[in-house]
Symmetry: C3
Subunit: 115 residues, 3 copies
């Protein structure tokens, strides 16, 4: 079974497709000067674009891992998430706090989707 890699760099790929499963990297904001809500919007737009390129969309989300630099921003992230996610097709999700690769990153989201 072939493996297709989108946004492939020498360290990691943004998205890997294998059979009917699509794995994204931990996606962070392109512009980390935004606040938690703004970073979440950027991340979810990037996930939409990766899923589209992989031939699927958010209605096929299976699992999501979310890391927040500060759990105090849980509700700010959730407001953007709740407006974005397909309420009929919500993934298995876990959200924990963790320091991220850069101090200005507030959120990181990694998903698995079907296609």
């Amino acid at each position: 079974m072939t493996i297709t890699r989108l946004g492939r760099g020498p360290r990691m790929s943004a998205c890997v497709i294998h059979g009917d499963l699509v794995y994204t990297a931990g996606i962070v904001a392109g512009d980390p000067s935004a606040d938690t809500a703004g970073q979440t919007r950027q991340i979810l737009a990037r996930i939409d674009a990766l899923l589209a390129e992989a031939g699927t969309d958010k209605s096929c989300l299976l699992r999501a891992n979310i890391w927040l630099a500060d759990m105090a921003t849980f509700e700010a992230m959730n407001r953007v998430w709740d407006a974005w996610v397909d309420p009929e097709a919500t993934p298995a999700r876990a959200t924990v706090e963790a320091r991220l690769a850069r101090p200005d990153y507030r959120v990181e989201i990694m998903v698995i989707a079907a296609r």
Copy 2:
């Protein structure tokens, strides 16, 4: 291939079934007034119930991610885990410390199983 979602809410689902793979959310204790051992027991009972509803059981666990609010409770969690897990069918597991969504949550467990 159809996707079946158990315990589906507008934010997340408790469990998502796709083909022969079953993904649970990060499960936390229903009663977080319990200590680490008690929360772990509640979580594993909930995972048992979700796997049963998905048509499988803990002998088909593939992978588990465990988050502890305090790594000092590693052995307390492990005592409950070791008594629960099928010793002939143990998953690939990783346990790290992380602040969880509520300060009284001591443990969170997310699994992938086959069915």
Copy 3:
């Protein structure tokens, strides 16, 4: 579909094979007296060995989760990772900081591969 478990202990397995998917545990250094670079080398050698035993190799990596005890070691870990990973076949990766099971563990890596 059968499930094959490598390095199976009563608590966890080092690697679980199900169909064409291979899940490793969160792998830590066998000798945690090494620094971050040394621990990363040990971990990646162990992952190479597990993937080989599972009938695959790093060119089939799909997803990687990396935990660092201290994000200040991000570049030290990346130097070893970049020298190891197949630049034509990089996985979807996420790296966050987390306290690990023992204070001398500096890195932990968990992967999913195809075979």
